[in-house]
């Protein structure tokens, strides 16, 4: 089949989903019916399934630990469009208002989802702004003058970076730390391992690493290493003398 297997619905009482092969046909029912160009479009109200789908997506997106802001904003704007076309006479509330329209199922669903939507969106976006206030470490400075102007005539700063590197060609002791800087060492930077070695650096994931690192004790690992090392130990035959 062309596209996905279909929407995974959570709610049992969903109306029947359009069969997949209909989705492959040209579907115009969701085109905005207020415009004259879409004369051939069927009903003026978008199908409930589009609204439900959008709400479902929005809730899923909001439930992410760190939602993708672009995705969220596009979803919300699309939902607002859908809602606007479903209730063209009502103004779009940013604050949830109680559903006053009588019992068309779509309306109550719309209002409740709108309320939930607005509430979720509002709370989420508020959370984002709170968190931002907490987590900004160095505050970005605002320069008085135009910051984009290059310092006139100065040689590019990158030349200076070269001076920081070691000039020798062979790997000396100090460099060995750098050799493995990109290797994740967080898993064993825990009390299980004697931290006395001078080269040890704390890894970025100290938290999760520690809990999982204490499963085996040192004696067990000693044994395992000896097994490995013992099977690999071999004599080196005399070389041609280098």
């Amino acid at each position: 089949m062309m596209l996905s297997k279909g929407l995974k619905r959570k709610r049992e009482e969903e109306e029947e989903e359009e069969p997949e092969k209909e989705a492959l046909a040209v579907d115009t029912w969701w085109l905005d019916p207020r415009l004259p160009a879409v004369a051939q479009a069927p009903p003026a109200v978008p199908s409930n399934s589009l609204l439900d789908l959008s709400v479902l997506k929005l809730h899923h997106s909001l439930r992410q630990s760190e939602p993708d802001l672009r995705h969220l904003v596009l979803l919300v704007n699309t939902l607002r469009r859908i809602q606007a076309s479903m209730e063209p006479e009502a103004t779009l509330p940013s604050v949830p208002s109680p559903p006053e329209a009588p019992g068309v199922a779509a309306d109550s669903l719309l209002a409740s989802s709108d309320a939930a939507l607005s509430a979720s969106m509002a709370s989420l976006l508020e959370d984002l702004s709170h968190i931002e206030g907490l987590s900004q470490a160095p505050q970005p400075l605002v320069d008085e003058g135009p910051p984009g102007r290059p310092s006139g005539g100065a040689p590019p700063g990158l030349g200076a970076l070269d001076l920081l590197g070691p000039a020798t060609g062979c790997l000396l002791d100090d460099e060995l730390e750098g050799l493995f800087e990109d290797i994740d060492t967080s898993m064993y930077d825990s009390e299980l391992w004697a931290p006395a070695s001078e080269g040890l650096k704390p890894g970025p994931e100290d938290g999760p690493g520690k809990e999982e690192g204490l499963e085996l004790d040192e004696a067990q690992l000693d044994y395992l290493l000896d097994v490995l090392v013992g099977t690999q130990a071999l004599e080196r035959p005399p070389g041609p003398g280098r």
Binding site: D32, P138, P156, C170, L176, L200, P204, E205, L225, Q232
Partner: protein, 562 residues
């Protein structure tokens, strides 16, 4: 009884340039993937590194001998100095080993207490790898998915970043007179782990290590510099070569042991001897903690001293030398987040004017800003927006108008934008509409609802100019990518896939059939594979060489040589 898994591989100096060497049944993979994310997710126990020096080696047969110093050191989880095969410490040198180079065997012990293949899938579900919960994934190689591709300014190097935080740099072979038909192929030059997954304790969030963008700095000395960024942190990497080493120390003997000064009777001057080429990558600057939202773009300024990084709501200007300060030059965050309706999707500096940059939005608009006007560029100098076509209006109009990429032409006269269905070229002097619009896959216009359902409508495609700004290229689905010649107005659809392209074979143009009658070579819209999308492509700055990233494969295509 614990099952021991061991990964063995060869590291030549830095884990940057490696070769695959089979040394026994315990080898799992070459060690260029020193932190393969798939292992990380499965592994529940601690990691342990040991090194073993190697004994004699005719050719590539390596014999392993543990150094006695390391028998105890492993528990520290760190490596001590290298040891010569006799067991005494020595610096790494050509003498240790078979003389072909300084090879180090690095072994990583994986001691899982619980290995469960299912746990990997659950892990992926709880980690937000992507937004869609409706699509199928190929979990096994998720970390290898290429997320950015970029040639450097001469085209000699090609960098790729992947979802696992790795950067792989390819270098073009020097063209030799002997092999004229080989026009310089690209081989792996360096591999390094640029970003690691991090944990933001304040927000209880994991920060993905996926490389969102790589941008090269113009070369100013023998070393190469590039910027790579994930969602939150930009890093400046230096990639440099070593092909000489000093030999003939006075205070150390052949194997690096300190000599008793009393035994030294003569002195000699150390000389530089050639060694096997070693490529090393070192992080030179880390620019962190300046973005609350996800970084989507970085762009090096033409002054080569500053660069900008853009997230969903803000753009910051950095100086390469200064990592603890950045200037905020664009901020579109509303005072009340409930009023948020638009985000920044891409940003780029003008190629020649260091005070000018553009940024695109999720509403299909582009703003050009001049940093000389004010410190905070909230008021644009130019505003590019095409009025909506009423005949194409739908509920998805805004989503498909969201610009996913914006690129200046090399000349600096035009900008190109990519939205979901089209590529547009704008003249900087005309703000009310683009001068050219190219349909990438208009046959999807009638399928937007399904594409919304499976989240494909949110895919972010990139676009690129060729060196002369005469051809533009962008990706599509089914591993198709499209090229548009701006002068002849001709376009072509090509496919990047292993089945259809053998080395040196000419790519066959593809066609998607939209009507009822399908010709032999055409593909119908319904059989397109929407999980195979080409989001990232790159074009050599001066030649007709393109790099196309198809999920976890990189394809490099060149013009046919006569």
């Amino acid at each position: 009884m614990v099952t021991l898994r061991c990964q063995l591989g060869w590291a030549k100096g830095m884990p940057g340039s490696l070769t695959e060497t089979d040394i026994g049944p315990s080898v799992v993979s070459p060690l260029d993937r020193v932190t393969p994310p798939s292992c990380k997710r499965q592994m529940m126990g601690p990691l342990s590194f040991i090194t073993m020096n190697w004994g004699a080696c005719p050719g590539h047969t390596m014999v392993l001998q543990p150094s006695e110093r390391h028998n105890r050191d492993w528990s520290h989880g760190r490596l001590g100095p290298w040891c010569s095969p006799t067991g005494s410490p020595a610096p790494l040198s050509c003498e240790t080993g078979c003389g072909e180079g300084s090879w180090i065997l690095v072994c990583r012990l994986l001691v899982p207490t619980q290995v469960s293949l299912l746990s990997m899938e659950e892990d992926i579900d709880t980690r937000k790898i992507n937004n869609s919960f409706l699509r199928d994934h190929s979990y096994a190689t998720e970390a290898d998915i290429i997320s950015t591709v970029e040639f450097n300014h001469t085209g000699e190097l090609l960098a790729t970043g992947d979802k696992g935080g790795r950067v792989v740099i390819f270098q073009r072979e020097q063209e030799s007179k002997n092999q004229v038909h080989r026009r310089g192929e690209y081989n792996v030059y360096s591999t390094f782990q640029s970003h690691e997954p991090e944990f933001d304790y304040l927000k209880s969030l994991e920060i993905e290590e996926k490389i969102n963008k790589i941008r090269w700095l113009p070369q100013q000395n023998a070393a190469y510099f590039l910027l790579s960024t994930n969602d939150k942190t930009v890093k400046l990497w230096k990639v440099s070569e070593r092909d000489k080493r000093p030999e003939g120390y006075n205070l150390k003997d052949e194997e690096g042991r300190l000599r008793d000064p009393a035994t030294i009777t003569t002195l000699r001057v150390p000389v530089l001897r050639p060694m096997d080429l070693m490529v090393e990558a070192t992080p030179r600057r880390v620019f962190a903690n300046a973005h609350t939202y996800h970084i989507n773009s970085i762009s090096v300024n033409s002054d080569y001293e500053t660069y900008m990084s853009a997230d969903d709501l803000r753009i910051n200007l950095w100086n390469f030398e200064i990592t603890n300060q950045s200037f905020n030059i664009v901020d579109i965050k509303p005072a009340n987040m409930e009023e948020l309706t638009e985000v920044i999707t891409a940003a780029e500096f003008h190629p020649h004017h260091c005070n000018t940059f553009v940024y695109s939005s999720s509403k299909g608009t582009i703003r050009l800003c001049d940093m000389r006007a004010s410190a905070l560029c909230d008021r644009h100098t130019k505003f590019f927006e095409e009025p909506e076509d009423p005949s194409n209006r739908s509920f998805f109009s805004e989503i498909i108008s969201s610009i996913s990429d914006v690129k200046f032409s090399h000349s600096g006269r035009y900008i190109m934008t990519r939205d979901y269905l089209t590529v547009k070229v704008w003249d900087l002097n005309m703000e009310n509409r683009p001068i050219e619009t190219y349909q990438v896959h208009d046959y999807l216009r009638s399928k937007l609802c399904s594409l919304y359902e499976n989240d494909c409508i949110f895919d972010k495609f990139e676009c690129v100019w060729n060196g002369s700004d005469s051809v533009i290229m962008t990706g599509s689905y089914n591993n198709f990518f499209r090229m548009f010649d701006r002068n002849t107005k001709r376009d072509v659809t090509l496919e990047a896939s292993r089945e259809n392209s053998k080395p040196r074979a000419i790519l066959k143009p593809r066609k998607v059939c939209v009507g009822g009658k399908r010709r032999k070579d055409e593909i119908s819209v319904d059989s397109l594979d929407f999980s195979k999308k080409i989001l990232h492509t790159a074009w050599h700055p001066s030649e007709n060489i393109i790099a196309v990233a198809a999920t976890n494969n990189l394809y490099i295509f060149q013009d046919k040589v006569n």
